[in-house]
Every structure is written in structure tokens, then in C-alpha cells.
């Protein structure tokens, strides 16, 4: 399996008045062609900043990618010129954002917005681009695409806007689709539609997908591999069945224990993770999860654990061996 994307020791920091926020602090992962990777974590854990860094979309200043490599097809995206990265964005790597209400331009028609990428990256003329746009809208399941193509975003519902965003992302046949919480703003029935759509498109087009979410349920039905992030670090990564079958990091265990499941017997009480996510300015030297962890030992406070392998293709960043299992 050839690696399509290799992220090595990525560090992104934000220089604010209050201090340096280490939003992403040494993240490494690989993604093969046609793979689906889920990145799970709470708000502020660095999951969005990770992929925005891959696309080089970090606002600068205050943000800065201070270290690391992002090898896409063998080329380090952090080193190429602005001109070159623009040719990659929207063309080879496309992105779908969380909020379809704010990520479409309200004063341009859907046709103008999708055609723009086609004209820019593939050099199509207006007519060809329009034809292709209609095809794309049909692919993502917009009814009466030929008529709706001249609508403005406000004439679309939330689910349709997200479909239009996906159509736009697909326009140049990307090798990698990054979806940043694409269904968080949508209702469950619409979320189910979008997930089915992405699964189908992935099968048909063979692209790789990175799916970012805070919902452990969405990932379970969609991805092959999962990365769990906490406070700017990867704290656990594994194949999907391994992760849900034998979660090993105390944080992952905590997350799985704190959400009620629709199919399991009702528990009398949930077991929340006590405390709050840490402040990323002036993080203490030890493991960032220490203040909320039930298994803390002396070493956890002194030194931050590196990722170590606990089972084939299953790594955790934790000093302690916690026996994880279902229920």
C-alpha cells in the first residue's frame, strides 16, 4: 500500500497575547490511497488545525507551522511555493467544511461557485464547466439539478448545501477528500444521507477520505482506521474494530463510557470524564490527560508518553496498561 499522505511530526502553534498555544504538537500519521481515516476528538484538541495545516490554510499570523513534513505524493507541501500549493488545493486535495451555511458564498449562484474550480484547475470553458457542474450535482443527489444549478445558496436546505459543498469538492476528482465535521450541523436523517453518499462516492471514485468528527458513532460505520486526539497529540490510533473492541487509552475508554448507546441496555448512570480539557498554553511536562485520568502514576506527571504499540497496528500514548474491553 503506497502512502498517499504522510504527516511527520507536525507542529502548529498560535502566537497570541496570552502566550503560545501549541494546538498541534508533534502529530504523525500515514494515509494510503483509497483509505478512510477518522480523526476523533473534542473541540480544541487540534483535529481541525491538523488538516488545515496539511492544506496550509492556517491564518498567519497568529498561526504558524513550526515544524514537520507533509508529504503528499512524495512532495512536501510545507515547502512548495504558494503558487504550487494553490494547484493542489481543491484539485488533488479537496475539503468539505463543517458549516454549509457559512462556507458557501451567498452572492454567487451554485453554478458560479462550482464552475470556478473547474475553470481554474481543469481549464474548462464556461459551457463545459456548467455541464460538468450539473453532472456533479446529479451525482450527489440534488433533484432537478439542471434547474437548481442557478439557485443561490439560501434557496438550498442545509442538507442540499452540504451536498453542493461535496459536489464542489469532487469537481476536480481529488485523490484526497478532507471532511471537517461535515455532518455536525445537520439532522440525523440528513447525516445518514450524507454518510451514505460519501461511502458510495468513495467506492466509485476510489479517493482517500479523512473524516474529522467528535462523534464516535459516525466513525464506527465509515472509517477503516481511527486516530483519537487530545490536547494537540495523538493519544491512540488503531484499526476501527481493534479500537472499539479493545480501547486502551484511558481517554478513549472515558469517551466511550460517557456516551449513552442506543442499542445497549440502559445504564443507571453515565460515567463522565471529570474535569475539563487542559489549557494549551504552558502545558505541564507530563501527559496532558493527567488531571482527568483515573490511572495516574508518578511517571505520568513527569514525562509525556510517546506512542507505543500494544497490538498489531494499535498504538497508544500512555504509560499504563489499562485493560480495555467492551462495556
Amino acid at each position: 500500500m503506497a502512502a498517499l499522505l504522510q504527516v511527520k511530526n507536525l507542529k502548529t502553534q498560535f502566537f497570541t497575547q496570552d502566550g503560545v498555544v501549541k494546538a498541534v504538537d508533534g502529530v504523525s500519521f500515514d494515509l494510503g490511497e483509497g483509505d478512510t481515516l477518522g480523526i476523533v476528538g473534542e473541540s480544541g484538541c487540534g483535529k481541525s488545525v491538523t488538516v488545515l495545516s496539511v492544506m496550509r490554510l492556517i491564518p498567519q499570523p497568529p498561526g504558524k507551522i513550526v515544524d514537520g513534513e507533509v508529504l503528499f505524493d512524495g512532495e512536501d507541501l510545507l515547502k512548495v511555493s504558494d503558487e504550487q500549493i494553490r494547484r493542489v488545493r481543491g484539485n488533488k486535495i479537496a475539503m468539505v467544511f463543517q458549516d454549509p451555511m457559512t462556507s458557501l458564498n451567498p452572492v454567487l449562484t451554485i453554478n458560479q461557485q462550482i464552475s470556478e474550480a473547474l475553470e481554474l484547475h481543469l481549464g474548462m470553458n464556461k459551457e463545459a464547466a456548467r455541464k460538468r457542474t450539473i453532472e456533479l450535482l446529479e451525482t450527489v443527489g440534488i433533484p432537478e439539478a439542471a434547474k437548481r444549478v442557478d439557485d443561490y445558496p439560501h434557496q438550498f436546505s442545509g442538507g442540499m448545501r452540504q451536498r453542493a459543498m461535496i459536489a464542489m469538492a469532487l469537481s476536480c476528482n481529488p485523490q484526497l477528500l478532507i471532511a471537517d465535521e461535515p455532518t455536525t450541523a445537520l439532522d440525523v436523517t440528513i447525516q445518514a444521507q450524507i454518510i451514505e453518499l460519501v461511502k458510495r462516492l468513495q467506492k466509485e471514485l476510489g479517493m482517500a477520505v479523512i473524516w474529522i468528527t467528535h462523534d464516535l458513532g459516525v466513525v464506527a460505520g465509515l472509517c477503516q482506521r481511527v486516530i483519537v486526539m487530545y490536547a494537540g497529540h495523538i493519544i491512540e490510533q488503531a484499526k476501527i474494530k481493534e479500537l472499539y473492541g479493545h480501547p486502551s487509552h484511558p481517554y478513549t475508554l472515558g469517551l466511550l463510557g460517557s456516551i449513552p448507546r442506543l442499542d445497549a441496555a440502559r445504564k443507571s448512570k453515565l460515567t463522565p470524564i471529570e474535569g475539563l480539557p487542559p489549557d494549551l498554553i504552558d502545558a505541564p511536562p507530563g501527559c496532558p490527560f493527567v488531571p482527568r485520568c483515573a490511572y495516574t502514576q508518578d511517571i505520568c506527571v513527569q514525562e509525556r508518553p510517546e506512542l507505543r504499540t500494544v497490538a498489531p497496528e494499535h498504538q497508544i500514548a500512555c504509560w499504563v496498561d489499562v485493560k480495555g474491553g467492551k462495556g
Partner: protein
């Protein structure tokens, strides 16, 4: 439905329409957004009724109409036998002490210029529940302790707290007037996953400590299942099904409830592999011009001709409190 023992709140044929007007100086009434269109349900003392549905189905409007934050267009809201829609002024204000609300967004529902002590103390003062400043402060500190915050936080401002802590302040404010009934309007949707469980546990503890009755509004079916005794499912301004929790989740009758349940992702890849999803086509129609007949027929996988013509009656299908509105069951 009426007359049953222990019923604290009963809603009869509740309708809440918002007018759409045209023109600037002379406003003509052209249509209505039928946000809530004829609801019948009751809540027993001490129980939690979950109210679920997708955005725009009218669940939050229902909560607000019960508290008379909106004056309903038609129908009755009987709280302890008194119709809240008929009373006003001083009488309504005094009755409202017994009904409170916890809001969805803990960032928007606390006044940023007031200290936490003033936020929680204001309802105590309005309802004259404390005789002196000192007593008020003691009460505020006790409430902070009850919701799991440090009592000495009372002179801090909301921006000094995290989302979960702010939601605790919102809960303390609702508890300040010793209410009997609380409408929880998506109290955990704005919070992080690891924090959600903390607030759910807090709400459950408070319920058993103070004998509270909840109307728990949410779109997350797993959470509603966890906290509710009975569950009502709404679609486009109407309740389509009400049942006890286990009946609704294990034996749903209405096709919309079935689709909704099947769409909820389960955090287990082995289960997900085997699951059959009912994927609904299309979107929720506009409440300005809802479809004729059953509101759900445009997306229903089992709709027949009668569904397009006649509005199905909301009846007890099994004879033991499992109500549904569908021609096909």
C-alpha cells in the same frame, strides 16, 4: 388522557403560529409558519418526558409556548389544573416561579455584564424569596454547591467559566426559585462529549433530590433514551408518536420514528456493519405550507393514497399508552 392521577402538566390542542406579513407601513398578513400545530400530551409529576425531533419540527417552540414565553395561538396548557394561556400579569408571574427553563446555549443565555451571584440571585429577588442581601447570598452559594461549583465563584463573571460550568450556572438559576417543572431545551447540545455526561448526571441527581419534573427537549436520541421515562417524537409541528421509553425504542410504530432510530450511528463497527439503515429521501417540508394529509407522507417509505388525503388521527394504538398518528399501523 385527562383526569389521570399525578398529571402535573397537560397540553391540549396546542397551536403556535407565527404570522408572515408583507409590506412595510401597512402589514398584510399573508401566511403563517405553523411551528406547532395541535399537540396533545401530558407530563406526570416527577417524570421526564423526552421530546425529540429534527431542527425546525417545533420542539423548542413547544417548550417556550408552555412557559408562555410565546402566547399560544390556540389550545390549553393546564399546569396543576390552571390554564396558563388564560392568566396574565401578576398571576402569571407568580405561577411562573413554578416553571423554569434551562437553555441550549450557555454562552448566550447568561448576561456577560452580570456576576454569577447576580444572575442566580435575580430570580430570588424578583420572587421575594430572600429577606435580606445576606440571605440571598447564602442561597446563591448553596445553589452553586448543589450544581457542583465552588460557592465562592459568586462574584465572578460568565466569561471566566467553561461551557460545562456555564451550563451549571444556568441550572442553578433555574433552581433558584424552587420550581416544580423545568423545560430543558437541548441543555447539552453545545457541550463537548466528555462534559455532556457530567450535566446529564447532574440533572438526574437534582431530579431525585428535589422531585423535579422535566420536559427534556433534544435531537440526540441516545441521550433522550438515557434520561426519559416517556418519549414523544415530533415531526413538522405535530407529535407522531408517544410511548414509554422502552416501547418507543424497542417497538416503534411510526415509520418516522423507525427511520430516525435507524439513522443514529452506534459507536461499534461490528454492529454498524450489520445494521440496516432506513435512509429517508429529501428534506423536511416547509412549515409554512405543510403537505396535505399526513405531514410525513412526502418522505414516508410506506405511504399509500390515503396518507396524501387525510390527516391521521393521534390515537392509542395498543390500548396501554402507546400513541401514534399513522394510517398504516
Amino acid at each position: 388522557m385527562a383526569g389521570q392521577n399525578g398529571v402535573l402538566l397537560e397540553v391540549k390542542n396546542l397551536k403556535m403560529y407565527f404570522p408572515i406579513t408583507q409590506g412595510i407601513i401597512i402589514q398584510r398578513h399573508v401566511a403563517d409558519v405553523k411551528a406547532v400545530d395541535g399537540l396533545d400530551f401530558f407530563v406526570r409529576k416527577g417524570e421526564t418526558l423526552g421530546l425529540v425531533g429534527e431542527s425546525g419540527c417545533g420542539k423548542s417552540t413547544t417548550g417556550r409556548a408552555i412557559l408562555q414565553l410565546y402566547r399560544p395561538t390556540a389550545g390549553q396548557v393546564l399546569f396543576d389544573g390552571v390554564d396558563l394561556c388564560k392568566i396574565g400579569g401578576e398571576q402569571l408571574r407568580r405561577t411562573r416561579r413554578r416553571l423554569q427553563m434551562i437553555f441550549q446555549d450557555p454562552y448566550a443565555s447568561l448576561n456577560p455584564r452580570m456576576t454569577v451571584g447576580d444572575i442566580i440571585g435575580e430570580p430570588i429577588e424578583i420572587h421575594g424569596l430572600a429577606k435580606s442581601r445576606k440571605e440571598r447570598l447564602e442561597r446563591v452559594q448553596e445553589l452553586l454547591r448543589v450544581v457542583g461549583l465552588n460557592p465562592y465563584f459568586s462574584n465572578r463573571y460568565p466569561h471566566e467559566f467553561s461551557g460545562g460550568q456555564r451550563q451549571r450556572i444556568g441550572v442553578a438559576r433555574a433552581l433558584a426559585v424552587q420550581p416544580e417543572f423545568i423545560v430543558c431545551d437541548e441543555p447539552i447540545s453545545a457541550l463537548d462529549v466528555s462534559i455532556q455526561a457530567q450535566i446529564i448526571n447532574l440533572l438526574e441527581e437534582l431530579q431525585s433530590d428535589f422531585g423535579l419534573t422535566y420536559l427534556f427537549i433534544a435531537h440526540d436520541l441516545s441521550v433522550v433514551r438515557h434520561i426519559s421515562d416517556r418519549v414523544a417524537v415530533m415531526y413538522l409541528g405535530k407529535i407522531v408518536e408517544i410511548a414509554t421509553r422502552d416501547k418507543l425504542y424497542y417497538d416503534p410504530l411510526h415509520p418516522y420514528t423507525k427511520a430516525l432510530l435507524s439513522a443514529v450511528p452506534i459507536p461499534d463497527p461490528t454492529v454498524e456493519e450489520k445494521r440496516e439503515r432506513i435512509i429517508l429521501v429529501g428534506d423536511v417540508p416547509s412549515p409554512v405550507n405543510p403537505p396535505k394529509g399526513c405531514h410525513f407522507h412526502t418522505r414516508c417509505p410506506i405511504a399509500i393514497d390515503i396518507c396524501k388525503e387525510a390527516d391521521p388521527e393521534f390515537v392509542d394504538k395498543t390500548g396501554d399508552g402507546h400513541w401514534a398518528a399513522c394510517h398504516r399501523v
